[in-house]
Amino acid sequence: MVTDDMDSSRSNDTASPPLTSARRLLVIGGIVLIAAGMIFGDVFAVFVLHQNASRVGEQLTLAADSVAAQNPEAVKSHFATLGALMENRGTKVDTHVHAIDFGYLALLLALVAPYARLEERRKKFLAGLFLTGSVMLPVSVFLIHYVGLTYSPLSSIGWASITADLGGLLVIIACAGFLIGVWRHIRRAEGATRENAGANTCGDWAGRALLTGGTLLVLAGFLHGAHYAVVDLDEHEARDRATLQEIVDSSRKAQMAPGRDITDAHRSIEAYGMLQAEKAVKIAAHSHIIEFGLLAMLLAFIQHYVFLSERWKRRLVVVMLAGSIILPVFVLLELKWGLIAGGIADAGGLLVVISLIGMLAGVVRHTGKADGQREAA
């Protein structure tokens, strides 16, 4: 469908330095990690997040009812279920966040690799180590809820947590290796080499648009975060504590009330749910707008390696930036528009994923072409 168009005109990849094995691993691995993390996030948002939130509300209501019924054992049971639900949610969010952030770091290391004074085989080893840890950690975190403490040698940490921490350690070692390489490059005061001369350019329209759009998104996210920290954070924490006390006091009062009327406690639980939703959407908007900005800026520097026609590259950039604005804006609007805004936000996330997969296809085509040329030579 797009082959002719894609082949008709090429990006200026001939002007860019070669994509070495280590950088190729990091660029492709990074994009795959980001796309996988985003798809997981979208699936989680659509099929788990809202359902999980309503189950948490149900359990809290049942716990308040048990307080009114003066039944401490039932309260403990509902809180055990509540804990499991919260762990399920927390580990899914951690999986999503860590996969994406490791993808960003992989792209960053691909940009930094030309400035690391290390042998290519060492860089390739470090890239492999980094990607191994980057897969191990999110997969293990995802499994924490299901594996639990089965066969664990420790009393509170299960095997999945242990392998997650090991994955994190591998990532740290790989980053430290690149840091040593950069430090050696700096100490030797090296000038441009074949690998790093013009290694990170973003001269074409697609690159410039991504860099400009990304910078604006990051700045907007920082300002939003500063506003949240100054205006909302303390107020949310105080309201969280106060609302929980209202629930506890109303439930206690219902023990003596005729017919154990617990309407007040239920009303406070609704208010508590709204507060949690308000906190979640504001934090999600802040983190997503900055992360999409950073992603756009990072992708600006791999546009030389996206072997697609200029027209298709531009389309992918527009789709990426549109999705990067739609998702955080409509996440914020979820408080007013509910599930409609949530659906549009998810569609925004999907746009970013589509654009990423398109760029990944372009990078794979570039590496295929480079391999072909090398074999022909």
Binding site: A63, A64, S66, A69, Q70, N71, P72, V75, K76, F79, L82, G83, M86, V97, D101, Y104, L105, L108, L111, V112, Y115, S156, S161, A164, D165, G168, L169, V171, I172, C175, L179, V182, I186, C202, G203, R208, L211, T215, V218, L219, F222, L223, A226, A229, E237, D240, R241, L244, Q245, V248, D249, S251, R252, Q255, S287, I290, L294, M297, L298, F301
Partner: protein
């Protein structure tokens, strides 16, 4: 490579390693205990209320609020240190596109690196110190970052209109 770029690249990578090491330490030695304290105190509060012991219920809620306060900041520090480290590395890669002389560029890089270290530090200090000092440190750090970023954006823009991309 200019001094500013060296500082941003090395500072960014070092901060990323530091932020990840903090995260690993936190996951191993603190996170589980804090989460158990949050869940345990909340459950204890409801159980005490069910037993008709309201003062104990309120005390448990206080423990819950303190543990939540600590948890939010500990997780924030981990994510902000690593996020800001990524920004520093990225700036290190593209800093030759800023249309300022060497001295101004280096000062901007120093401001950005200082802000990136100090802002999360102020956040985590809030769990150890009372009063406004840690907040003032966090606000000063974040202000440094925002001002430096805004100036860098101006520098990019000036470079763009005066000659554009030179790779």
């Amino acid at each position: 490579m200019t001094r500013a770029r060296k500082l941003l690249l090395a500072g960014g990578l070092a901060l990323a390693v530091w932020g990840m090491s903090y995260g690993l330490y936190y996951a191993l030695f603190d996170e589980h205990q804090t989460l158990e304290q949050i869940g345990g105190s909340l459950a204890a509060s409801f159980v005490s209320a069910a037993e008709g012991k309201l003062p104990e219920a309120h005390a448990a809620l206080d423990r819950y609020a303190a543990a939540s306060y600590e948890y939010v900041r500990e997780v924030d520090v981990h994510s902000h240190w690593i996020g800001l480290a990524m920004l520093l590395i990225l700036m290190g890669v593209i800093f030759d596109r800023v249309a300022f002389d060497e001295r101004k560029s280096f000062r901007l890089a120093v401001a950005l690196v200082t802000g990136s270290v100090v802002f999360p530090l102020g956040v985590i200090l809030q769990t150890a110190m009372q009063g406004q000092t840690p907040r003032a440190i966090a606000v000063a750090g974040s202000a440094l970052i925002i001002i430096a970023l805004a100036l860098i954006a101006v520098g990019f823009w000036r470079k763009h209109i005066s000659g554009g991309e030179r790779g």
